[in-house]
């Protein structure tokens, strides 16, 4: 029987009441007395030398209060990279300064070089139009191979080859892997592109800076996935504000998908402007600004080789990747193509030799950083595409080839050659489940039916693994992370027994307010509605690291469990006193404390009341009150995995691909709220289908963004997507966190692109098509068919 509340129940998302009835409070909904407006002046060339910026006429325009340029921020710090990556030779990566406003040069279309603050937004825009910037256009550096080859043309003058780093994982394995591939009976080679994506959160970025001259306190209200991290970056690295004088609030946030992890210069600017003016300063991006200034995702060019025995046994994998980092290093940009990508390159397989090389390249494009999946979709696409190609070359069924090489349940914990230790999994189980829910056996009949209608039907399989629950701080510290990746929770019990849980994770659509409350309510045996989750305000919540990398439940949820355990332990002491029993005899279940072996008991609410009205209370032993904080640092990553199946129909005359069905059999470990999990998979798969068939961020050779609006950037819409069949009944619980959970937020976006492209290639394989790059747009599919003919 499905539960109707607590852990395992599909409790309805309480936050949806305000989201769906227009009662959400997003940053741009917040207006304050005396508010001013910021407008950013952005470069319309990809690369240029700033000779001068004359703001004198603009300063005299109606309503103008202040104008800032890069010159105003030469004394403050830069926005740092969060991870320091070393080159293959052990030397550190190149880390150019990322200023609040462009200084000296503009480095991508959309790079902000001035900001106008005015009484109204329109006045700020009017003034921006008369700023006279003398920007001498320089040749744009767009293509990664060209960027590396042409040392005369530099994104950053001090970096002569436009190379951020040349990373080998694991460098010591390089020669062994080379030899294994050289000596292998069969090698399948595939060159592929992980297309560049624009995140397109429904809410564009927005920030309000405020400063109180009376106290010296700064307040930033902003669209962030991790307010404490943003606070740390601004206070310590960029502006030098004492940390206790800055509060960062991320109120309701309309999606992030990674793009709102990072600190952006606009946030520092509105704070600096608020201090200068003594008035609140609001900025809200237009959608056009979002396209050119949000951190983009993916953008890898990869060659992957899979060496096998003739019977299909995997021998080695080697990859060679160029990863576009854009013009500046966004906060996670150096971790994404490395430790979130190279460490996953063994996939679900017992492949003894793996070597990953990644060269990360500066170009005159917007910064590129983690986007839903972040490195793992790139790895999954590379592996699952080359495995599929290998199966065709060897004449082995693609599912059987995977099964033959799967890590077996008795091999866990399993140490891969790329340094991860998978704690648990059962990949044959998810593959079996997929066969059932996708009716793979019925494919040939469906194919014949499609054929009768003149359509080519294809079936594609992918089996992904990802590393979530980011991350063990000591491990990531060794790997170059400049932050810890624990999380934190405070469980505050009121005198009447209701609860506020202050969490470091941030919910921007994920449903934490519901699922976290389910955990606490279940542990305490009280109604879910008696538990509220508080997040997003650094003045209220403990120092947690926010939401990304499918980490919230696995890491912050574990902190919630630990803090709740502490509350229960203290409450048992109070109950023992009230029941005049030994603490060791107190049992707690369903909201009742009882003395073992007796009928003596006391309710949760009576104990909590005693904690705050301690008239009859062991004051000499314990303090009054009932509030506990816990920090949780995971011992390992978590490893969700799953089997995905996509069926497509291709119209050979037009190249149009229709997704006919999509099935996902995931192992997320234990599940707190099945409905929320299903929704997360739906959304992730929609984004994966978007990447595979529709979305493409394209710059021309001059660095102009050709896909700069929804007229040219194709987002998936409802009629592009099928009804999904989603299952998460295969459960191998995570072995190292208290809930046994693994995380589900990114899985759909990781597992689906290779399933879709494998299906498209399957539909066209008898024409001789062996690969097609994403997005498999009608024009590309048609061209691939023509080329194969």
């Amino acid at each position: 029987m499905p539960k109707d509340s607590g852990i395992g129940a599909s409790s309805k998302r309480r936050e949806d009441v305000r989201y769906l009835t227009g009662r959400g409070q997003y940053t741009d909904d917040i207006n304050s007395h005396n508010q001013t407006y910021a407008y950013f002046v952005r470069s319309d060339v990809a690369h240029g030398k700033i000779n001068s910026i004359d703001t004198s006429e603009a300063e005299g325009m109606p309503g103008v209060l202040a104008i800032f340029t890069g010159d105003d921020f030469t004394e403050v710090g830069g926005n740092p990279a969060g991870w320091l990556i070393n080159n293959r030779d052990g030397t550190p990566m190149k880390e150019p300064k990322r200023p609040v406003l462009a200084h000296g040069k503009v480095r991508h279309v959309g790079d902000a070089y001035a900001a106008v603050i005015a009484e109204t937004y329109e006045q700020a825009v009017d003034a921006a139009e008369v700023i006279d910037a003398d920007i001498e256009e320089l040749p744009a550096i767009i293509d990664m191979a060209d960027a590396l080859a042409n040392s005369d043309n530099r994104v950053h003058d001090e970096i002569d080859d436009n190379l951020c780093f040349d990373w080998g994982w694991i460098e010591d394995n390089r020669e062994t892997v080379d030899q294994a591939i050289k000596n292998a009976p069969h090698v399948t080679t595939l060159e592929l592109i992980n297309n560049r994506l624009v995140p397109n959160a429904m809410e564009a970025r927005a920030s309000i800076g405020d400063y109180d001259p009376g106290t010296g306190d700064y307040k930033l209200t902003t669209t962030s996935q991790n307010p404490h991290l943003t606070k740390l970056l601004i206070a310590v690295f960029v502006m030098g504000i004492p940390e206790h004088k800055l509060t960062v609030i991320a109120p309701d946030v309309g999606g992030g998908f990674g793009s709102k992890i990072y600190h952006y210069g606009e946030e520092a600017l509105v704070l600096a402007a608020a201090k200068k003016l003594g008035r609140p300063v609001k900025w809200a991006a237009t959608r056009s600004e979002a396209f050119v200034s949000d951190a983009h995702g993916r953008d890898h060019v990869t060659k992957i080789e899979l060496a096998t025995e003739l019977d299909g046994t995997f021998i080695a994998i080697r990859t060679d990747t160029l990863a576009n980092v854009g013009a500046y290093l966004s906060n996670f940009s150096t971790a994404t193509p490395t430790f979130l990508h190279g460490t996953l390159m063994a996939g679900n397989y017992t492949v003894p030799n793996v070597y990953v090389n990644v060269k990360t390249v500066f170009t005159n494009t917007a910064p590129v950083d983690a986007y839903r999946g972040a490195g793992r979709p790139e790895a999954s696409f590379s592996i699952e595409r080359v495995v599929d190609k290998c199966a065709r070359e060897l004449g082995i069924d693609a599912v059987e080839l995977r099964r033959k090489n799967f890590i077996q349940p008795d091999q866990f914990p399993y140490t891969t050659p790329v340094a991860l230790v998978y704690d648990t999994g059962d990949y044959d189980a998810t593959m079996d489940k997929l066969h059932e829910i996708a009716d793979i056996a019925g494919f040939e009949a469906r194919k014949a039916e499609s054929s009768a209608r003149g359509k080519r039907r294809g079936l594609g399989i992918a089996h992904y693994i990802e590393a979530c629950g980011i991350a063990p701080s000591n491990l990531v510290g060794q790997l170059g992370s400049r932050v810890g990746l624990y999380d934190a929770a405070t469980v505050r019990v009121s005198p009447t027994g209701t609860i506020s849980v202050m969490v470091g994770a941030h919910s921007h659509g994920q449903g934490h307010e519901t699922s976290f409350a389910q955990v606490v309510a279940d542990m305490l045996g009280i109604p879910e509605e008696n538990v509220d989750i508080v997040h997003g305000d650094t003045s209220k919540i403990p120092f947690g690291m926010g939401t990304y990398g499918s980490r919230s439940l696995a890491v912050c949820g574990s902190a919630v469990v630990k803090a709740t355990d502490k509350v229960v332990a203290k409450a048992k002491k109070i109950a023992a006193h009230l029941l005049e029993a030994g603490e060791g005899d107190i049992e707690f279940s369903d909201g009742q404390f009882s003395v073992a072996g007796t009928d003596k008991s006391i309710a949760w609410g009576d104990v909590t009341l005693a904690a705050y009205i301690p008239h009859n209370y062991p004051l000499e032993e314990i303090e009054p009150g009932l509030e506990e904080t816990a920090f949780y640092d995971p011992a390992n990553f978590t490893y969700p995995s799953g089997a995905y199946c996509c069926e497509v129909e291709v119209d050979e005359d037009t190249g149009k691909v229709d997704v006919m069905s999509f099935a996902a059999a995931d192992d997320f470990g234990n599940v707190i709220n099945p409905m929320i999990v299903e929704g997360q998979v739906h959304g992730g798969v929609a984004q994966g289908i978007g990447q595979a068939l529709l979305e493409n961020c394209v710059y021309d050779s001059e660095g102009q963004l050709l896909s700069g609006s929804y007229m040219d950037y194709a987002m998936p819409r409802a009629d592009d997507l099928p009804n999904y069949t989603v299952d998460h009944s295969c459960v191998t619980p995570c072995t190292h966190n208290p809930l046994g959970v693994k995380g589900c937020g990114e899985a759909g976006a990781i597992g689906s692109p290779p399933a879709v492209i494998n299906a498209v290639v399957d539909a066209l394989s008898d024409l001789g098509v062996t690969h097609i790059d994403m997005p498999a747009s009608p024009a590309r599919v048609w061209a691939a068919i023509q080329a194969a003919k």
């Binding site: 529709l694 394209v698 896909s707 194709a714 987002m715 009608p778 024009a779 061209a783």
Partner: protein, 259 residues
């Protein structure tokens, strides 16, 4: 956007007078003009809304012809039953919001190279009526965003002769869902007309070779020997000229089959 004056006259004559001001622009449904103004890419001194002119509203049929007021929204054309191929076309322009604001006169006057109505007007042999004259569709469309309209001239109505059979096939550009290529085939007593939108650098145009073939044999097979040159066709993110040339033929055949 920049500041501008706004007028909403109730007669064509008043609209013509209002449009005589320097840099005044007529506002139909605003589906192109308003976003352009918001991005400060257009700076009219005055907008003259045509939506308050009752004589420019509505759809009526008489004598085998459909008369559509210039300010009639797409949703109203979509709801009419006299010219099913035209109604189907109107019902698939943009999304419901667009269809309930955008007007036929605005669409034809704008002559976007990827919009649907120009293909219907050209294939149907429609007559575009203005405050000053009547213009045959063959003379009206003069290249991308170019028409025979003079400055300040207003499309007051459009007359569509209803063909014996007609069909419009649009292959949508994946992002905008405008026509990557759209082909309208109309079979009338006077012959077959084939109009192509979305494909050409020169805007909507007729494919006369297909018309000749279809006049001899109105079936998709009649197109077998024909090919479309990719010269002067549009090449962009979403398709090469060769792809568009291929689609012209595919969609023409499908239109004929479904006529």
């Amino acid at each position: 956007m920049y500041n501008f004056d706004f007028e909403k006259p109730s007669t064509v004559a008043d609209a013509v007078t209002a449009l005589a001001s320097e840099d005044a622009l007529a506002l139909g449904g605003g589906q192109t003009l308003i976003p352009t103004i918001k991005q400060r890419l257009a700076a009219p001194s005055k907008l003259v809304s045509l939506s308050g002119i009752s004589e420019m509203q509505g759809v009526s049929a008489s004598g085998g012809s459909l008369h559509i007021g210039g300010a009639t929204i797409h949703a109203d054309v979509a709801a009419d039953s006299h010219y099913p191929a035209l109604s189907a076309l109107a019902g698939n322009i943009g999304d419901p919001a667009v269809r309930n604001r955008g007007t036929i006169g605005g669409s034809l006057a704008n002559n976007d190279p990827s919009s649907d109505y120009p293909a219907a007007a050209l294939a149907s042999g429609a007559t575009i009526n203005t405050n000053a004259r009547s213009i045959a569709a063959d003379d009206f469309f003069q290249g991308i965003f170019e028409t025979a309209l003079d400055e300040g001239e207003i499309i007051t109505s459009v007359d569509f002769p209803v063909p014996d059979a007609a069909c419009y096939k649009k292959f949508e550009q994946p992002a905008s869902r405008f026509a990557l290529v759209g082909v309208f085939v109309a079979k009338t007593a006077g012959g077959v007309r084939v109009a192509v939108t979305g494909a050409s650098e020169e805007g909507v145009h007729r494919w006369t070779a297909a018309e000749d073939a279809l006049n001899a044999n109105f079936s998709a097979d009649a197109l077998d020997g024909l090919s479309v040159s990719s010269e002067n066709l549009i090449g962009d993110l979403h398709g090469t000229p060769e792809y568009r040339a291929h689609l012209v033929k595919v969609l023409t055949a499908r239109s004929v089959s479904d006529c």
